[in-house]
Symmetry: C2
Subunit: 208 residues, 2 copies
């Protein structure tokens, strides 16, 4: 029989290593700097070797996006305080997302880049995005069910997410024309969009 096929664990390991190298390259020098050749150079293989692990460059970027999505979702869960007041939870998550953007603006840009193939083309990406979104929707639903917010939780979350995202997007693109700190804009925006959730302060009472 033939030479042993690559162990599946090994494949995953190399994929991860390639992803890490690609992400580093992307963060350092932008999307155009990410090439299979430089990737191969950095990982010490031939320039066609990455094709063993990614069908093409789009697939590589999809893998990068998946990695970002997962860490983004992790960030959301880590910042959350399940069991406490929905306003406090959303507030904490908002803060965590800002921190994520501050720490890795390139990752945030990549996740929401408009020049990437649509999410629908990559079911695994879509799944993580949906999971993260549904996670947030559940928090809003907690508020609507308590009668502290009116409307479809999905609509509410979509609008809140989109609104904050707009400012984050402009910010990372260097297109905010005003010298305000980011929080000074997103914070009131969030409170306004989720009004009247933040009107009354249930935080201490409910989390106790």
């Amino acid at each position: 029989m033939p030479r042993a096929a690559l162990d599946n664990r090994e494949i995953q390991r190399v994929r991860r290593r390639l992803c890490e190298a690609a992400l580093a390259l992307y963060r350092e020098e932008g999307a155009d700097a990410v090439s299979f050749r430089r990737l191969a150079e950095r990982t010490g293989t031939s320039h066609t070797q990455p094709y063993r692990y990614f069908e093409n460059k789009d697939a590589l970027f999809a893998a990068l996006r998946l990695d970002c999505y997962q860490r983004f979702f992790d960030c959301i869960r880590d910042c959350d305080r399940p069991g406490s007041d929905p306003a406090a939870r959303l507030q904490a998550i908002h803060h965590g997302i800002l921190e994520f953007v501050r720490a890795q603006p390139a990752d945030y840009q990549l996740m929401f880049a408009a020049d990437q193939p649509p999410l629908a083309d990559y079911p695994d990406l879509l799944a993580v995005r949906r999971a993260a979104f549904d996670y947030l929707v559940a928090i809003v639903a907690q508020a609507t069910e308590a009668g502290r917010l009116d409307g479809d939780p999905r609509d509410i979350m979509h609008v809140a997410w989109g609104a904050v995202h707009g400012l984050l997007n402009l910010h990372t693109a260097g297109q905010l024309l005003h010298g305000r700190r980011l929080e000074e804009l997103t914070q009131p925006l969030l409170r306004t969009v989720l009004h009247p959730l933040f009107e009354t302060d249930h935080d201490v009472l409910r989390s106790a």
Copy 2:
């Protein structure tokens, strides 16, 4: 003396022709399809000829963005109803922007693309963006001065702009997870962000 230098009018004419060809290429096949070589091919010249009119590819894209900004600003002014109620004006402009995005989503993406050099690198781009932004700020100021809105008009406009932009950006990127029509999300968002401007209906009274 030497051969006559190109007439400045002629230069502008060719630049415009190149821009139009580039924009068409961009709309049809995306940013990666825009190359000096294909541009030259379409305009019937050698592949280095575009360098006579643009220092490099970044400069070409800056020119494309400028063109988009100007048409975007035109769109805003054309939709506006100066002299009428600020709520009605912002409402009309909001509608016009949605129409712009619907008609030319690629142009909208290009204007706000995060992978382009920062606005600050191109004073002429910045100028048009500021002009458009200030134009909108003036409308908000009209509302704050009438006591119908509280806060710094620049902050208010920034938040409103950013918020709506977030949904438009997700939409054009194919990343809206929900099957809502765009207006069904941006419309209430705008009203909420500019609350309490839309609470009372001054439209008919003031525009009469």
